[in-house]
């Protein structure tokens, strides 16, 4: 086992990792920028090294600075957390050169999954379903129609240079193909000066359902069931839960199998997440793989009763996976508490927390690096806490979350607590009836229904 782990991250995840290391008897080194001097990860680590100014590029994203901190502290492993350098293959490579264990997959594995095209090809080879589409740009109307027919309607036309929904058109049946094709090209030309178009299957009422996997250094891969992360705002996850209210036992078997195949295809080492889109008919498609621990990992920890960071470190130290897949034995929901004003377009609200009280009690967990008096710096992401509830059933879990949100007190900055309070009361959310577009229709300013 490692002697001393340097945590190349900040905030709650750094603190989270320190906790597990302490429980494992491993010494910890925190690194921090000058903006994070008063963060709890600095305080709770055995050692702490200031590595740079607030700017991430000169601190948490700076490989030389982090490696220098490793050198002066003699750490023998690095935990990258999530974000920052966690999916940086070059960093993993530098670690290897220096004989420092990067707690995560190999540089090659990171690269394979980091590039979307390579990842998709690998998945196709492994027999994992991907979103069907044209093989690159569509030549002309005729071949477009043929491709659309092969894929099956509805399909979506996308501008290769596009973004932000521009140049995107959904086509529901063949009769509508031609006019949409023309308009999509015109729009793309006007907006981007490039009328290249490709075709993809249109996913109806897509849910974001991901599978947590773990693979050891001998190529054994298991899955730890799913997380439903469909509650998103502009592709930012806000709420995650397990089990997914949309899941069935059969679908879990199928998707779990696909996730394990995805991991096995690259002999994945470490913990990782295979993200899928699931349409309303319960067809599922590989989206991408995250080759690191994720923000929402506690949701899985709470329902399978295992510490994922511990498993991650054990795998990195060469321990082998002996068990099989894990299935949820409770229901867990995580609400991300961000310092953002939900009534003002989720505008970030950095500043000083004047008072703070975290929810407590049976089945309530709060992962956070903040406290009363803490100054949320404006340089990094706005997440200040993760509130995780666990209960035997989803209904009880939602009620517990309501109670825990009512009890959560954070003053001095705006937070997303009121957003979550309203979400928990929303009848569609309570019924488990939502997809990734849910928040587009969810009127936050309206009085919630009873």
């Amino acid at each position: 086992m490692f002697h001393k782990v340097l945590i190349a991250n900040r905030g709650e995840i750094a603190l989270r990792i320190i906790r597990t290391c302490r429980e494992m008897g491993i010494q910890t080194v925190a690194v921090y920028s000058t903006a994070d001097r008063e963060s709890l990860h600095v305080r709770f680590a055995d050692e702490a090294v200031c590595i740079g100014p607030p700017s991430s590029t000169e601190s948490y994203l700076s490989v030389p600075r982090i490696m220098a901190a490793v050198e002066i502290t003699n750490a023998d492993a690095i935990h990258p957390g999530y974000g920052f350098l966690s999916e940086n293959a070059d960093f993993a490579e530098v670690c290897a050169e220096y004989g420092i264990k990067f707690i995560g997959p190999t540089p090659e594995q990171i690269r394979k999954m980091g590039d979307k095209i390579t990842a998709k090809e690998t998945m196709v080879k492994a027999g994992v379903p991907v979103i069907p589409g044209s093989d690159g740009l569509v030549k002309d109307l005729k071949s477009g129609k043929k491709i659309a027919k092969d894929i099956g309607y509805p399909i979506i036309l996308k501008a290769t240079a596009g973004g932000g929904g521009k140049g995107m058109r959904i086509v529901w049946e063949e009769a509508e193909f031609e006019p949409n094709w023309d308009r999509a090209r015109q729009e793309a030309k006007a907006a981007f000066g490039n009328d290249g178009i490709y075709i993809e299957k249109f996913i109806e009422e897509p849910r974001h359902i991901e599978f947590q996997i773990a693979g050891d250094q001998k190529g054994k891969v298991v899955h730890l069931s799913e997380r439903d992360c469909s509650i998103q705002r502009r592709h930012q996850k806000l709420v995650e839960e397990c089990p997914s209210p949309f899941m069935t036992d059969e679908l879990r078997e199928e998707m779990g199998k696909a996730a394990v195949q995805a991991g096995e295809a690259i002999k994945y080492e470490g913990v990782g997440t295979v993200e899928f889109l699931v349409d309303k008919y319960r067809n599922f498609y590989f989206m991408e793989m995250n080759t690191r621990i994720q923000v929402e990992h506690p949701v899985t920890e709470e329902v399978i009763d295992h510490d994922l960071i511990k498993e991650q470190i054990k795998i990195a130290a060469g321990e082998l996976i002996t068990g099989g897949n894990y299935y949820p034995n409770a229901h867990a929901i995580e609400c991300r508490i961000n310092a953002e004003d939900p009534f003002n377009d989720f505008r970030p609200s950095p500043g000083k927390i004047s008072s703070f009280h975290s929810s407590k009690g049976h089945g309530v967990r709060v992962d956070t690096h903040v406290y009363a008096g803490y100054n949320i710096p404006p340089y990094y992401d706005s997440m200040v806490a993760k509130l995780i509830c666990r209960a035997p059933t989803r209904e009880e879990c939602i009620k517990k979350m309501e109670r825990a949100l009512d009890e959560f007190i954070i003053e001095g900055v705006k937070t997303t607590v009121p957003f979550h309070q309203r979400l928990m009361k929303n009848e569609h959310f309570r019924a488990g009836n939502f997809h990734t577009g849910f928040l587009n229709d969810f009127d936050l300013t309206a009085e919630p229904k009873k």
């Binding site: 030389p64 220098a68 050198e71």
Partner: protein
């Protein structure tokens, strides 16, 4: 003892307040002498005190200790032989309140701070004379020390001119980003 171990030992002793350390391997002999001048010890811990600590009152849920800066020896570890009444997590809180005494005395001086993390060297090699010693007058752009990181010896150039009043870090000691290396008297 491997080289790495030796290296770590040397660093450790260097960072410490020991005044003497002897060792013999054949039949193992050891002799350690610590600094008698308690005052110096306190001073050394106090000096690094950050302006951050001046930030008057953040009355935190946790009384935040002045953060350990510059890099200081690890707090008592829980793993090997944990003093249970003083766990590592609380250790900083139990440090005596640091005074700003030194700071005030030295406030008329300017500081040269380390722009990177690494190991501080006063000269380009052990035989060579230090780049800058107390009393020297330095100019903007003049190399005042080396900070080594990842086998790169980074020459640190002064951004200010004046007389060296104090060298804040011992030779071959690790330094953090932003750690004060030299005090400079601009009128010197």
């Amino acid at each position: 003892m491997t080289f790495k171990e030796l290296q770590e030992l040397v660093k450790l002793i260097n960072k410490s307040n020991l005044t003497e350390f002897k060792m013999k391997d054949g039949e193992f002999e050891l002799s350690i002498r610590t600094n008698k001048h308690q005052k110096q010890k306190q001073k050394q811990q106090a000096a690094p005190q950050q302006p951050a600590a001046n930030a008057p009152q953040t009355a935190p849920i946790i009384q935040m200790p002045p953060v350990q800066q510059p890099y200081s020896p690890p707090a008592p570890q829980p793993a090997p032989a944990p003093p249970p009444a003083k766990p590592a997590a609380e250790a900083p809180a139990q440090e005596p309140p640091k005074t700003d005494g030194n700071k005030q005395e030295e406030s008329k001086y300017l500081e040269i701070r380390s722009p990177i993390v690494g190991t501080f060297y006063r000269s380009s090699s052990p035989e060579k004379a230090p780049y800058a010693k107390v009393g020297d007058t330095i100019e903007v752009g003049q190399v005042v020390c080396i900070v080594e990181a990842m086998k790169l010896f980074n020459e640190i150039e002064s951004e200010l001119a004046g007389k060296v009043v104090k060298v804040m870090v011992e030779d071959a000691q690790p330094v953090e980003y932003d750690q004060v290396l030299f005090l400079i008297d601009p009128e010197g």
